[in-house]
Symmetry: C2
Subunit: 363 residues, 2 copies
C-alpha cells in the first residue's frame, strides 16, 4: 500500500517510519526542498496548490492523509476526486476554524470556555464586553503554538486584538485559569473502531509544548473519551485526533482538537503498545487498531530550537532519543526524548534531567 | 552520523529504521539492484569486492557495520583502512569458520558438542569414527538455515558428507538430541559496556527459524550471559551478537554465534524496552546502551515464503506486523509478526494463531 501525506515535517517522518514494517510506503508533498520526512519517504517538492503535483500524488497513492490541519481545502478536494482522503473534508473544515470547532463542541454537549465571534472592531468590543475580561482573542484560522492570540485584561489593550482582526475573523473566549492542560489522543478507523490513549498533562512555555506526562485519572479519562468519541463520530473522522482540554475544578473544558497525530502523543512510540503513528496508519488503511496501553511509566520532553548530545540523552535511564534532522532555529521543534521506566520516581527523575538537557542545549 | 552497512537485507532495513530517530543515516552496499533496505537507506549497488564502491562507502560513513557474517574479509580490511568498522576483523574471522569458532568456545570454557575437523575423505571417516554416530558434518564456512549440513547415522551415508567436503573443509560434531535451541542476543559497545536480552526458545523447521519465545529461566540466563560475556570480551566485539545453544539435560552446549543482530531478537522491537537494532547502533556509535527488559509477554513468528494478510495478523491481540518488502519465494524470510501481551495465555494463543496464519499464507 502507498500512502500520500500532504506535509513532510516530523509528523510525516514518524508516520513514514511506522509504515515501513506494515508494508506501507509513503510519498510526501511539501514545498520545502528537503523536508525532514524526505529521508524515509519519497518527496514531491511542490506547493499545495500545484494541481499537477496533487494529481501525481493521487495517481501514486491508495490513500492520502496530512501531517498538518491547515491543508488548503481545495488541495484535498482535488486529491479526493480520485483517491480516498483521510481525515475527510468535514474533519478539516470544522476543526480548521475555531468558531466552527467550538460551535461543534457545544452542539455535542462538550463544555468549552464561553466564546463569541467578531469580524469588526465594533463587534470585537461587544464580544469582549459580553465575555468579560480577562479574555483571549484568537484568530479563527491558522493559529498554532500560541501564535495568533492575545490575552486582554484591560480595554486599553484591545488595540492588540484589532491587529489580529486585520488578518482574520476572531473569536473571543473567556480566559480559563488552569494549572496545566490535558490532552487525549484518539483514533477512529474506516470501520468506526475507536481507540484512546491515556490522558496526558501537557506543559507549555511561550505557547510551545515542552513536556507531557501520561496521568492515571479514571474519571477524567472517561469524560475525555466520551467527548472525543462524540466528536470522532460526528465528524465521521478517520485517523488520529489530538484533543486538548483545560483541566479546571469543574472538570474538562475543551480548548481545541487537531485532526492528526499530535505532539502530545509522541511518547506512545516507546511508551504505548502501539504508537499513535502506527494507529493513524492502521485507521486510514482499514486495518484493526492496536492496543493503546502503556508499557511502563512514560513521559516526554520536546527539544525546541536545538537538540542535546544524544550521549547525554541516552545516559538517562529508559530514555529514547528522537532527532528530526531539522536545522536548529529558535522556537522550532527539532526533536524530543521519551523516557519509559518501571517506576514513577525514575520516570520523574528522567523527565527532570531531560528538561535540563533541553534547556542546556539552547545555551 | 552516517553508518554504512555491508548487506542490504531485512536486518539492514531494521537497522536503518532504528537509526532514523537517533539522527543516524544509513548507506548500504548490496549487489542486488533493489535490496529491501533501499526503501529507507541510501543504496550503493555493487558487489562486495568492488574497491571503488567500498572506498565510496568509507568516504561517506563515520562507521561501517554489516548485516551478515560472511562479508569477505578483504572488503572489511579495505574499508577499515580509512573508517572504523564494527564488528572488527577478529569477530568475523573467528565466527565465520565453524572450526575456529568452536575452538574459541572451548578455549573460553564454553561447553560445545564434541567436534573434529576434516579436510579429506580419509580424515572425514576418521573424524566420524572418533566422534561416533549419529553425528553432524558441517561445512566450516558459509552455512546458514541448515544448509551445508548432513546428519550421518550410518557409514553408508558418508557419501553425502563427501559432497560437503568438495566445497569446503568440514567439521564433524556429535549429534545433540534436544527439544529446542535457546538463543541469547547480547551487545557490547565501544566502551566495553555489555547488555543481554532474555534468552529465547527458538524453534526451527527444515533448518529455518520459525518462532521464538523469551523464557524466564534465571540459571540458564546467567550461564548464557557468562558464556556470551567471555566471547564478547575475547573477541573485543562491538555491536550485537546472537549466540545459539542446545538446551540439554546437562545445561547449555554452544552451537554457534553470529556477530550481528539476530533473527531470534526481532521480538525486541516491540517486546523489549530497547530493540536489538537500536542497541547495535548505540554500541557501534559509542552511545550508552539501552534497557533490554521485556515490555510484556512477547513472542514472534517468522513468515517464510509469503506474508499473510496484515488485517489477519493485526486482528491478533497485541500483534505487530513486519513485511520486509521482499518478493515471495519458497524458504525465504519475507516478514515476521511479534505479539506482546499482558499475560502468558494470550501471548501463547497469539503465537498459535500467528503460526496458523504463517502456514496458511503458503497455500
Amino acid at each position: 500500500m502507498i500512502v500520500g501525506i500532504l506535509g513532510g515535517g516530523q509528523l510525516a517522518r514518524m508516520l513514514a517510519l511506522a509504515g515501513v514494517p506494515l508494508g506501507i510506503e509513503t510519498v510526501v508533498v511539501d514545498p520545502s526542498p528537503s523536508p525532514c520526512a524526505a529521508l524515509v519517504a519519497r518527496h514531491v517538492a511542490a506547493p499545495y496548490d500545484d494541481a499537477e503535483a496533487l494529481d501525481r500524488l493521487s495517481g501514486l497513492c491508495d490513500v492520502v492523509t496530512c501531517d498538518f490541519e491547515n491543508v488548503p481545502a481545495a488541495a484535498l478536494e482535488r486529491v479526493a476526486r480520485t483517491t480516498r482522503v483521510y481525515p475527510g473534508a468535514r474533519s478539516l473544515a470544522v476543526l480548521q476554524d475555531r468558531l466552527t470547532e467550538k460551535t461543534c463542541f457545544s452542539e455535542l454537549g462538550i463544555p468549552t470556555p464561553r466564546f463569541h465571534p467578531a469580524t469588526s472592531p465594533g463587534e470585537l468590543r461587544d464580544a469582549i464586553e459580553s465575555i468579560g475580561m480577562p479574555c483571549v482573542v484568537k484568530s479563527r484560522r491558522f493559529g498554532y503554538d500560541g501564535k495568533g492570540q492575545a490575552v486582554i485584561d484591560r480595554l486599553e489593550d484591545v488595540d492588540r486584538a484589532d491587529e489580529l482582526l486585520a488578518a482574520s475573523s476572531v473569536i473571543v473566549e473567556s480566559f480559563i485559569p488552569f494549572e496545566h492542560e490535558v490532552a487525549l489522543v484518539a483514533a477512529r478507523s474506516t470501520s468506526g473502531e475507536h481507540v484512546y490513549y491515556p490522558l496526558v498533562e501537557s506543559h507549555h512555555v511561550d505557547g510551545i509544548l515542552r513536556w507531557v506526562v501520561p496521568i492515571d485519572a479514571p474519571e477524567l479519562q472517561q469524560q475525555a473519551e466520551q467527548y472525543a468519541g462524540r466528536l470522532l463520530d460526528e465528524l465521521g473522522h478517520v485517523g488520529a485526533l489530538g484533543f486538548e482540554f483545560f483541566r479546571t475544578s469543574d472538570g474538562l473544558l475543551a480548548n481545541e482538537a487537531a485532526p492528526r497525530v499530535h505532539n502530545t502523543g509522541h511518547w506512545t512510540i516507546e511508551g504505548a503498545a502501539t504508537s499513535q503513528f502506527e494507529n493513524h496508519l492502521r485507521a486510514i488503511a482499514g486495518l484493526p487498531l492496536g492496543n493503546t496501553a502503556t508499557t511502563g511509566f512514560a513521559g516526554n520532553v520536546n527539544f525546541i530550537g536545538s537538540v542535546p548530545d544524544p550521549a547525554d540523552v541516552l545516559a538517562v535511564e529508559g530514555a529514547h532519543h528522537h532527532d528530526y534532522g531539522k536545522e536548529p532555529r529558535p522556537g522550532r521543534k527539532v526533536g524530543h526524548a521519551t523516557v519509559v521506566t518501571k517506576d514513577v520516581e525514575s520516570r520523574d527523575a528522567g523527565l527532570v534531567r531531560l528538561r535540563e538537557l533541553a534547556e542546556a542545549a539552547l545555551r
